[in-house]
């Protein structure tokens, strides 16, 4: 029973990591760079959800909606101010790094300006944990798991079955050719940022529920990055699998070593993974073009 309990808790934790890692991977796929503003975007949209919705007594669903919309809009704006001209000028990809790092400090700076170093808490959205056959699952875990699963399925559907999803895949594959084929590359990239921002907003609220709301909440994005590396950088299914694995392993480890040392262990797991299987579980092989 203990094992089942760990698995359930691990998957619940992993589902939030999966939101982070997929949100990160969507941008990585399209523009082939690591978007380091993703973490701070999670914080910023979680706080917007808090101040607009939760602090005014609105429920869980409106809070999520506000955060998701905020995340999308900010990501869209971020694309315009930080990445658009780099894309157009086709300058060195190292500028994407600088831009995204800068954008990250900007988002976090805005949060600090508003709340200082204070902690905030979402109101209690959930009732008592559910007990069944010796297994305890908190309502928050259950609901987070369900909403994350729905979000990921919707994401998979959009990417696999819709027109814009196909455009996204072809732009990821080869931007220039996609453009020659009549795909509006700018629109497609904007769409990727909207999707990524929405996932960041959702993940931000869930992190805020699981922990508390504080300005450097976004540093938990590291878990999503590690999940992506384990899963195989650039692979969406890999990102989900890596996140679930990380969630389960962490849940197991926390009971042994405590949560304080967790970042050390997740870091070591990532390092070992890179040494043994640098291409990740999904075996993606992202290389610079020859």
């Amino acid at each position: 029973m203990q094992i089942v309990q760990y698995l359930i808790n691990g998957i619940a934790l992993g589902s939030v990591y999966a939101l982070i890692s997929t949100g990160f991977s969507v941008i990585f796929n399209v523009l082939k760079f690591s978007n380091f503003s993703h973490g701070a975007l999670m914080t910023l949209s979680a706080f917007i959800g808090y101040f607009i919705a939760a602090a005014n007594g609105w429920g869980l669903v409106p809070t999520i909606l506000v955060a998701v919309v905020a995340g999308s809009l900010i990501a869209l704006l971020g694309e315009f101010v930080a990445f658009r001209r780099i894309l157009i000028r086709n300058t060195s990809p190292i500028y994407f790094f600088v831009s995204s790092i800068t954008l990250g400090t900007l988002y976090e700076g805005l949060v600090v300006l508003k709340v200082g170093a204070n902690f905030h808490n979402y109101p209690r959205f959930f009732g008592k944990p559910i007990k069944w056959a010796g297994i305890v699952i908190s309502q928050s875990d259950l609901i987070i798991l369900c909403i994350s699963a729905v979000a990921l399925i919707v994401l998979a559907f959009i990417i696999q079955k819709t027109r814009i999803g196909r455009a996204l895949r072809s732009v990821s594959f080869d931007r220039d050719t996609a453009s020659l084929m009549g795909i509006n590359v700018t629109r497609t990239i904007q769409f990727a940022f909207i999707v990524s921002g929405a996932l960041a907003g959702l993940a931000g609220v869930f992190l805020g529920i699981n922990y508390t709301l504080y300005p450097s909440l976004g540093s938990l994005v590291v878990k999503g990055f590690i999940a992506s590396v384990i899963g195989g950088l650039g692979s969406l299914p890999g990102a989900v699998i890596g996140a679930m694995l990380l969630g389960i392993v962490e849940t197991g480890l926390i009971s042994i070593v405590g949560s304080g040392y967790m970042p050390v262990f997740t870091f070591v797991i990532m390092l070992v993974f890179l040494l043994v299987r640098p291409r990740g579980i999904a075996g993606s092989n992202i290389q610079e073009k020859a």
């Binding site: 690591s34 780099i86 400090t105 700076g109």
Partner: protein, 292 residues
């Protein structure tokens, strides 16, 4: 006067760290978001050795630098063969791990309340001397065979390999030099403020250094140092800006990236030859006026 000495010393310590980041980011095009964690290793190791084990400083500081380089080697090893994204992702995870370690290993580090009682040994003179020596070393490095190879790797990894350049080795050398310099900056810092705590070494610190390098000019050490003075001096002088510090940096850099992507100075370096040229140009500019 004391205030200015204080500000100047702090800026010079930052100059040391930024010069280290310049080698990695400016010259080689790699981004470490855990660079501040190496500063932490230097600061804590030297601090602990001196306060808890009474090791003399001239041994404790090198020990801090050497430990940081050893750890840097392990962190760098899996990443130097891979795409550049990996070193950023791995160092970010590394930074979080170090912060967690510093917070938890209370007996050794003092945990969240920090390491106290470090003797105040770093003076303005030592900071200035350190900055000058580091700048000289890196100037030599930039003009050396490894310096050129770093720039080649930044520009085009594949072509670099085709010219026989051992890219993983060059990346590792750049990474370890920058780690060593940053860790030394950590020693200076700890023995200046006499107190360190884990919050000082988060990813935002590393991000700030990257921003300083890019603001000044991607390929210009002169620019990086100049922008360190401007960006860290400004909020010190204009105290009311303190809270907006991060935001001002970000907006400035976004402006630079959008409108002058090579940074303020681009590739320009302050060399004797360039200095002569400036003086000459200034002289020529004056002459016509005198004629009139």
């Amino acid at each position: 006067m004391a205030l200015y000495t204080h500000i100047l010393t702090q800026i010079l310590i930052t100059v040391v760290s930024v010069a280290g980041v310049f080698v990695l980011t400016g010259m080689t095009g790699m981004f470490s978001l855990g660079q501040a964690a190496f500063m932490a290793i230097g600061a804590y190791t030297s601090g602990i050795l001196v306060t808890k084990l009474s090791v003399p400083i001239f041994l404790a500081w090198p020990a801090g630098v050497i430990l940081a380089v050893a750890v840097g080697f392990i962190v760098g090893l899996p990443t130097v063969r891979l795409r550049r994204d990996y070193i950023s992702l791995v160092t970010l995870g590394f930074g979080e791990a170090i912060t967690a370690l510093l917070n938890r290993a209370t007996a050794l580090t003092g945990g969240a309340s920090g390491l106290t009682g470090i003797p105040k040994e770093t003076t303005l003179t030592i900071a200035l001397l350190s900055a000058v020596v580091v700048i000289i070393l890196i100037t030599f490095f930039k003009a050396s065979k490894y310096g050129r190879q770093c720039i080649a790797v930044r520009s085009d990894e594949l072509a670099a390999k085709a010219m026989g350049i051992n890219v993983p080795k060059v990346k590792m050398i750049a990474f370890l030099i920058s780690v060593a310099v940053t860790a030394y900056g950590g020693c200076l810092y700890a023995f200046y403020t006499a107190y360190v705590d884990p919050t000082l070494f988060g990813w935002k610190k590393s991000a700030e250094w990257v921003i300083m390098v890019f603001f000044g000019g991607v390929n210009s050490l002169t620019g990086s140092i100049l922008s360190t003075f401007v960006l860290s001096g400004l909020p010190e002088v204009l105290r009311f800006l303190q809270n907006y510090r991060a935001i001002i940096y970000a907006v400035l850099v976004l402006l630079v990236i959008n409108f002058k992507p090579s940074g303020l100075l681009g590739e320009w370096e302050l060399t004797p030859a360039n200095l002569k040229r400036i003086i000459k140009r200034a002289g020529q500019a004056k002459q016509p006026k005198e004629v009139r």
